[in-house]
C-alpha cells in the first residue's frame, strides 16, 4: 500500500512529504518529496547587494540563524580578505554556541514531543525562551537576528547581556541534567530509540552526512576541531562521538554537545578580549552608529555603503562551518560587481532528508517517526 505522509503532518518537522510504500506497518520504500518551502533564496541573492543577503540567510535554517549569518559573513570576508578583530571572533563563537544550544533544545523538544514525552517539550522551550531573550537583548530580534555581518558584528552587545548570560550559564547545566533524568534511562525512550534507524559510518559518509549524525555513527569529524575557524582553536572542548549510529546515539551526542557548548560559552565569557566588534574595513563595514546620528560625513558614508554596497574581487570561495545540524557551506561566486554572481547554500538538511530513503525501509511506521525526529533537519534549509 502507498501511504502519503503528506506535507501537512504534525511529525514531519515542516512541510515534508514522504511517500511510503508499506506492507502492514512495515515501511518497504520511502521517497521524500520536497520543495514545499522553496523560497528561491539563491535566486534572490543574485539580485541583492552582499549586505542585503544577510537577513535572507537567517531564514534558511531558521532554528540556527546566527550560524547561518556566520557562514555567509565569513564567506564574504574570505572573498574580501578581511581581518576580523579578536573580540568580534570571540563574540561570534559565543553567539554561535548559544545558537547550537538553541537548535538542540528545539530538536530535543520536538523529538520528545514526537515520541510522547510532552514535558520535555515544555521544559526545553522554557530554556529556549531565555536564549531568545538574550538574542533579543543583543540584536533586537528573537530569531532572525542578522547580527553577524560581513566585517564583524552589527553592534556591541549591551552591558546587560553579559550578567544575564552568566545567569543562564549557571542554571542551564542542571536543566540539561533534568532532561537526561527524564529520558536517558527511561525504558520507553530506550525502547523507541535504541537500535532504531541504525546508520553505519560508511553509509553516513556515502550520503554526505555531517555533524551529530556523522558523529553518532562513529566518525569523529568536527570542523571546529579539524579546520578551526573564528578562533575555535583557542577553546577547550570535546567532540562527543558514539559508534552505534542509532537514534539513541544521536540523542546522546546532541545532549553532550549542549554541555560542551556551555563550556565554550563559559570560556568565551571569561576570556573575552577588549577591542572593536567591527573590522577596520572602510567601504564594507558601516561606521559607528552613534556617530552617524550626529556627524554629517559619517551619515553620508553610511548612506553610500548601504545604497551602493561593496565590490569584492572576482573569485569564488566555499566556506564550511560546523553548524548545529552539520556542515553548512556557502559557495559564493563573485564577478567583481556589488551583487553575488552565485550564492549556493550547502545545507546539511538536504542530506539528512535524503538519507531517509536509506533509513526508513525495514522499520515500522512509528519507528519512522523516531528516525525523522532524530535526524534533525529543517525544511527551510532543505528547500531554500
Amino acid at each position: 500500500m502507498t501511504l502519503n505522509m503528506g506535507p501537512q503532518h504534525p511529525s514531519t518537522h515542516g512541510v515534508l512529504r514522504i511517500i511510503l510504500q508499506i506492507d502492514g506497518e512495515t515501511v518497504l520504500r520511502a521517497e521524500p518529496d520536497i520543495g514545499y518551502l522553496h523560497k528561491g533564496i539563491e535566486k534572490s541573492c543574485e539580485n541583492l547587494l552582499y549586505a542585503q543577503v544577510v537577513p535572507l540567510t537567517d531564514r534558511i535554517d531558521y532554528l540556527a540563524p546566527m550560524s547561518n549569518n556566520l557562514v555567509y559573513s565569513m564567506a564574504v570576508e574570505k572573498l574580501l580578505g578581511l581581518e576580523i578583530p579578536e573580540r568580534a571572533q570571540w563574540l561570534r563563537v559565543l553567539l554561535v554556541e548559544l545558537t547550537r544550544i538553541n537548535n538542540h533544545l528545539v530538536w530535543l523538544a520536538t523529538t520528545g514531543l514526537e515520541l510522547g514525552a510532552m514535558s520535555v517539550f515544555l521544559y526545553c522551550f522554557r530554556e529556549r525562551e531565555e536564549i531568545l531573550n538574550l538574542f533579543e537583548l543583543c540584536s533586537g530580534q528573537r530569531m532572525m537576528t542578522s547580527f553577524i555581518r560581513p566585517g564583524g558584528l552589527a553592534l556591541e552587545p549591551p552591558r546587560e547581556f553579559y550578567p544575564r548570560l552568566r545567569a543562564f550559564l549557571e542554571t542551564m547545566p542542571s536543566r540539561i541534567d533534568e532532561y537526561e533524568d527524564l529520558l536517558t534511562e527511561n525504558r520507553i525512550w530506550i525502547a523507541r530509540t535504541r537500535g532504531v534507524g541504525t546508520l553505519s559510518a560508511d553509509d553516513a559518509i556515502a550520503y554526505s552526512l555531517t555533524g551529530p549524525n556523522l558523529r553518532a555513527s562513529g566518525v569523529q569529524f568536527d570542523l571546529r576541531k579539524q579546520s578551526p575557524y573564528c578562533s575555535y582553536e583557542k577553546f577547550d572542548f570535546e567532540v562527543p562521538t558514539r559508534s552505534e549510529g542509532d537514534c539513541y546515539a544521536r540523542y546522546i551526542v546532541r545532549i553532550e554537545e549542549m554541555r560542551q557548548s556551555l563550556r565554550i560559552i563559559d570560556q568565551a565569557l571569561r576570556g573575552l578580549p577588549e577591542g572593536p566588534v567591527k573590522a577596520d574595513a572602510p567601504g564594507v563595514v558601516l561606521p559607528d552608529r552613534e556617530k552617524m546620528k550626529t556627524d554629517m560625513e559619517t551619515l553620508i558614508y553610511h548612506f553610500k555603503i548601504v545604497v551602493d554596497g561593496f565590490k569584492p574581487p572576482a573569485g569564488e570561495v566555499y566556506l564550511p562551518i560546523e553548524s548545529p545540524k552539520g556542515e553548512v557551506g556557502c559557495y559564493l561566486v563573485s564577478d567583481g560587481t556589488e551583487k553575488p554572481a552565485r550564492m549556493r547554500w550547502r545545507g546539511p538538511s538536504l542530506f539528512n532528508v535524503q538519507v531517509l530513503e536509506k533509513l526508513l525501509p525495514g522499520h515500522l511506521i512509528s519507528d519512522a517517526i523516531a528516525i525523522l525526529a532524530s535526524i534533525d533537519f529543517v525544511l527551510g534549509e532543505v528547500d531554500r
Partner: protein, 161 residues
C-alpha cells in the same frame, strides 16, 4: 583572521599527482583564496572523482556539494561544481566542468555517492543540466509540471507568469 587554516602544501602535490594520473586530458588546476580548483572535461568527471575518492592518499571520501553556476553570457555557459572533502585532515578540493546550453549533459556520479541523487536532481531542476545515467532525474524543488529552469540567468527573478 578567523578563517580556516590554509590547506597544506599538499595542494600542489595533489594537482601534480592528478595531472600525472590523467595525462593529456585537458585538466587544469589553480589555487585561489587558499582553495584548489581543478577544471576537467565533462567526460572525465566520473573517473576523476572516483580516482579522488579511492586512489589518493588521503582519500576524498565525501561529496560535500554538487552544484552549478550559470555564467551567461560567457560560453560555455554552465559550470558544474563538485566539492570533495577528505575526512582525515579536512582537506578540500573543487572540481569543475563546463558545458554549454546546446548540450548540457554531464555524466552522473550517483553510483559513486548516493548523496548525489538529490543534488543532481536539483541542478537539473534549476539549471536544466542533464545527468547521464541518473536513475530518477526529475524535478526536485519546483512542481513537477513547471516550465523553465529558475536559476538560469535569463530566467526573471519574479518568475515567468
Amino acid at each position: 583572521m578567523g578563517l580556516p587554516p590554509d590547506p597544506a602544501a599538499d595542494d600542489s602535490a595533489l594537482l601534480q599527482s592528478l595531472l600525472s594520473a590523467f595525462p593529456d586530458s585537458g585538466i587544469v588546476g589553480a589555487t585561489a583564496n587558499h582553495e584548489l580548483t581543478v577544471v576537467s572535461p565533462p567526460s572525465l568527471i566520473p573517473d576523476l572523482l572516483q580516482w579522488l575518492r579511492d586512489g589518493v592518499t588521503p582519500p576524498y571520501r565525501m561529496l560535500a556539494d554538487l552544484t552549478a553556476v550559470d555564467l551567461f553570457p560567457r560560453e560555455p555557459r554552465f559550470e558544474v561544481v563538485y566539492h570533495l572533502l577528505a575526512l582525515d585532515h579536512g582537506q578540500r578540493v573543487r572540481i569543475k566542468t563546463r558545458v554549454s546550453a546546446d548540450a548540457p549533459v554531464v555524466p552522473s556520479v550517483v553510483f559513486l555517492w548516493p548523496a548525489a541523487g538529490m543534488l543532481e536532481r536539483e541542478v537539473f531542476d534549476l539549471f536544466g543540466i542533464q545527468f547521464a545515467g541518473h536513475p530518477n532525474l526529475k524535478r526536485l524543488l519546483m512542481p513537477n509540471d513547471w516550465q523553465g529552469h529558475p536559476l538560469r540567468k535569463d530566467y526573471p527573478v519574479e518568475g515567468e507568469r
